[in-house]
């Protein structure tokens, strides 16, 4: 896909910038000195405007890998980019590597490149990736203008950078994976969403796919969260490398006696593989029991993307119930949804030992 026609900004998590002829006018390897060419001010402004709305930037340049080393010498420029790829390989390969490094789908990338050849190569090999000529950058920015700027979206680039540091440390770490996870000092806190956290919870509802139970829309989430007997919970995570902020949101419906139902559970895949999603779910179950509930239910709408969430629910012991007339199903998931449930009597599953889980200061469940 090329151009901005029919462009859906919510699909784009990272804009990948070409260097020579795009980020700057010159060709870096042809400069007489070791200094990098001066970036175009309007490109830097675009990168910063996107970052404020939570869109990451990366680099795919077909050039000498030494250019990347020179980029490291300009920290204020380097800090704008995650997982940069500078090599002679095809751009489609570079884009694949960037998506893998960032842990996002390759279709969540967008390439800005002045070379029609490179754009065509990426469009041919990665049909889900949109490409733009640098002249189309103003149209790209316009597409993001309506998006709400939240503290979370402004901090997203920083968080991914923290994650890069963490990954580099993990590669250097001498020991088992479990020892490393313990050493990271991960702390998950769970509590009722504060008013400042609500935009982030809505953002998670809109942007998560892999770890999203029902696809409940942000508008519906906002409406239900404000209705009687419903509570919106969030989970925030920190570790020795920094603060990941709110990484999970769950709507809990306590209107039926003895039953706690979850019309939506949504988690960022930024912290995938560290037990945080399971720990959040298990803590919600514990809190429901502490509040007097005997049964815990989650609305599930299976999609092509949310198998990981389904396995998580299975791990938590949630099985299909016959209660398909539950109001939450009709509202959240339509005919394709199901309600999974389990008893809160007996042993509840526990999070991994390396993860410290605690409740934030509040008492409602």
């Amino acid at each position: 896909m090329s151009g901005t026609e029919g462009f859906d900004p919510d699909r784009v998590k990272c804009v990948v910038w070409d260097l020579d002829g795009t980020l700057w006018d010159e060709i870096a390897v042809e400069s007489a000195t070791d200094a990098l060419p001066v970036p175009r001010a309007r490109m830097l402004a675009a990168i910063d405007a996107l970052a404020a709305r939570g869109v990451l930037s990366s680099i795919a340049s077909r050039s000498a890998p030494s250019v990347l080393g020179r980029l490291d010498g300009v920290p204020e420029l380097r800090a704008r980019f995650l997982a940069p790829q500078v090599s002679w390989q095809d751009k489609s390969e570079s884009l694949r590597a960037i998506a893998k490094d960032l842990g996002i789908a390759v279709e969540a990338l967008l390439l800005v490149d002045d070379s029609p050849y490179e754009r065509a190569e990426v469009e041919a090999l990665l049909p889900g990736v949109r490409t733009l000529d640098p002249a189309e950058v103003p149209a790209l920015l316009a597409a993001f203008e309506g998006r709400e700027e939240t503290p979370e979206s402004r901090a997203r680039v920083h968080r991914y950078r923290t994650e890069e540091t963490r990954r580099a440390e993990a590669e250097r770490f001498q020991g088992t994976r479990e020892e490393f996870l313990r050493w990271c000092g991960m702390r998950l806190t769970v509590g009722a969403a504060t008013p400042e956290e609500i935009p982030r919870a809505l953002e998670l509802a809109a942007r998560t796919h892999r770890l999203n139970s029902s696809g409940l829309t942000p508008d519906r989430l906002r409406e239900l969260a404000g209705s009687a007997g419903h509570h919106l919970f969030t989970a925030a995570m920190t570790d020795r490398f920094g603060d990941y902020g709110v990484i999970g949101a769950a709507l809990v419906d306590g209107t039926a006696p003895a039953v706690r139902s979850v019309p939506l559970l949504a988690l960022s895949c930024r912290v995938a593989g560290r037990g945080a999603a399971a720990a959040f779910l298990f803590r919600l179950m514990e809190r429901s029991r502490a509040a007097g509930a005997e049964e815990f239910r989650v609305t599930l709408r299976p999609t092509d993307a949310n198998l990981e969430m389904r396995i998580l629910l299975r791990q938590a012991g949630l099985r299909r119930t016959d209660d398909t007339t539950d109001a939450a199903v009709g509202a959240a998931a339509g005919a394709a949804g199901a309600v999974l449930g389990r008893s809160l009597h007996g042993d509840l599953p526990e999070p991994p030992a390396w993860l410290h889980v605690s409740d934030r200061e509040d008492t409602e469940a």
Partner: protein, 95 residues
């Protein structure tokens, strides 16, 4: 069809896929009892590892557990996905 693996062969292969997905030693998983819980302390399958396991099963047998088993009842122990796959293969063979 003669090239359809029998139930015992399926379980042997699935044990090895579980070891790979959960990053465990293959011999260790080969010697666990068939009723060992996939999410229990000995195997400790995570949701991410579970996705890898179901992917491996689909690639090897063409059995898409995620599509066939909504609440993933077959993800209980070593025996249950083996039973599920063997049953699917038997139906496919017209057996």
């Amino acid at each position: 069809m003669s090239d359809t693996p029998d139930r015992a062969a399926v379980e042997r292969e699935i044990r090895s896929m579980i070891a790979e997905a959960a990053r465990l030693d293959e011999t260790f998983v080969a010697e666990l009892p068939a009723d060992a819980d996939l999410f229990g302390p000995r195997i400790g399958l995570t949701s991410l590892a579970g996705v890898a396991l179901l992917g491996a099963i689909d690639r090897r047998y063409g059995v898409d557990v995620a599509a066939l088993d909504l609440s993933l009842d077959s993800l209980q122990s070593i025996a249950t996905p083996s039973d599920f796959v063997a049953a699917c293969l038997a139906v496919r063979d017209g057996g």
